[in-house]
């Protein structure tokens, strides 16, 4: 349990630095803004208490806000994501629930499940993030395009990155 917490904290620091120092500097035009730090929330274990998960998400968002000078923006999107993770997991859970010790990764759950899980949560996060960022609807379709393209970009990065944090436990 302690190693699990330690591993999550380490992942938090690494992904935060990756987001702030590297991904933030990747410039792919105004429509693709990748936010792979959401992997911090995506990789939290299944057993995490839902309230704890939401509070963790809130603090992940706050720490991003500190770096992006966007007070509350990331926090709001992340809180929403943490809030919805509980329902998404319930919605796409296998027939007999999640096994103990299984982690929300491609290796453990398969690509199809991961696409639904991560894809939905990233879309929710990006929807909240980009619409809150612009805070108006008169650029609705432009923002929508940003949400979709950025979600694809983030998902690809998340998909690659979660192999980095793979614990090596083969079933």
């Amino acid at each position: 349990m302690t190693t699990e917490i330690f591993r999550n904290i380490l992942r938090f620091i690494l992904l935060l630095l990756l987001q702030v120092l590297i991904v933030q500097n990747i410039n792919l035009g105004p429509y693709i803004i990748m936010l792979p730090y959401v992997l911090i929330i995506l990789m939290l274990p299944f057993e995490t208490q839902r309230v704890a998960l939401m509070v963790i998400s809130f603090f992940v968002g706050i720490s991003l806000d500190i770096f992006h000078d966007s007070s509350g923006l990331h926090a709001s999107a992340c809180t929403l994501m943490g809030f919805s993770r509980h329902y998404v997991l319930k919605f796409i859970s296998p027939r007999d629930g999640y096994d103990i010790g299984v982690k929300p990764t491609v290796d453990d759950m398969g690509l199809a499940w991961y696409l639904r899980y991560a894809g939905t949560l990233i879309l929710i996060h990006h929807f909240a993030f980009f619409y809150l960022e612009i805070f108006r609807f008169n650029e609705f379709f432009g923002t929508f395009l940003r949400v979709i393209l950025s979600s694809i970009g983030t998902f690809l990065l998340v998909y690659l990155l979660q192999f980095l944090f793979y614990t090596g436990k083969k079933r």
Partner: protein
């Protein structure tokens, strides 16, 4: 009340979510106003230090480009320096008049190289043949004569300074009118010797020594220096006058080049007539 508490406890998940979102909205609201100080921003210690470290690292990787850019800029700025440009003084002060024929023309020039500490000292001037300077033109500064041009390339000319062992310039005492030859004995860059002054000449300390027209190079009456002392050496029937030079050849910077327009004509005439008489 009990029911309310039970309701809150039952749906505490939703309530925590709402609370967190309210905090977020409050933060966003704070961020919008100009007056509202930002509660969270990247100027705090952790974030700014991380950004600083990243910027320093990036700077290190960009050093080469930065160096190149700076070098390029330096080159550009150096090219713009005023000192890189020679002011080409093409202003010859000429005058066309039917009553007076102009004998000498003046050009201004700048000394780009000079020496005083050798036995043969030369000055290099920044104008040459293309600008009209040529051999046997006089060089003077405002304080007094300096020398005369011995050679000219297309853009530069080299002048023999007064401080040269072969420099011989015809000069005269302004008050007395007796003339002699100004030479340099190599002792002191501020003094020259005016030789061959007849012993009957009336010399006073402080007398002006000026050029005479005998040389054919200098116009008559250009200031050369002042008399400091004079002596009659043994077995000589002439005075040797020590002249304090007017021009400080160590400081000379802007000079005038004086062209004698009829020098060639005069020289060939003198040569021909002497040849005819000699023959």
């Amino acid at each position: 009340m009990k029911n309310l508490l039970a309701f809150v406890l039952k749906h505490h998940f939703i309530f925590v979510f709402a609370l967190l979102q309210l905090i977020c909205i409050w933060l966003m609201q704070r961020n919008r106003g100009y007056q509202g100080s930002q509660v969270l921003n990247s100027s705090n210690a952790v974030a700014s230090n991380i950004y600083l470290a990243a910027a320093n690292t990036k700077e290190y990787f960009a050093l080469k480009q930065e160096n190149e850019r700076l070098a390029e800029e330096n080159t550009k700025l150096r090219n713009r320096l005023k000192s890189n440009f020679n002011i080409i003084p093409l202003t010859r002060f000429e005058r066309h008049d039917t009553l007076y024929k102009q004998h000498y023309t003046y050009m201004s020039a700048k000394v780009v190289n000079s020496s005083v500490n050798k036995r043969r000292n030369y000055l290099t001037l920044n104008i040459g043949k293309e600008q009209g300077a040529g051999r046997d033109m006089a060089v003077m500064s405002v304080q007094g004569i300096v020398g005369y041009i011995t050679d000219a390339s297309s853009n530069f000319s080299s002048a023999m300074s007064l401080l040269h062992k072969d420099s011989k310039i015809n000069c005269q005492l302004k008050n007395d009118g007796s003339y002699g030859i100004l030479i340099w004995d190599g002792s002191d860059y501020q003094h020259c010797l005016l030789t061959d002054i007849p012993t009957h000449a009336r010399i006073k300390k402080g007398d002006t020594v000026e050029t005479s027209e005998l040389s054919g190079i200098f116009p008559e009456g250009l200031f050369a220096g002042t008399v400091e002392s004079w002596e009659q050496k043994q077995n000589e029937s002439f005075f040797t006058v020590k002249v304090k030079l007017g021009a400080d050849l160590k400081k000379v910077n802007h000079v005038y080049i004086i062209q004698n327009k009829y020098k060639g004509e005069r020289d060939s005439l003198e040569k021909n007539s002497q040849k005819q008489i000699d023959d």
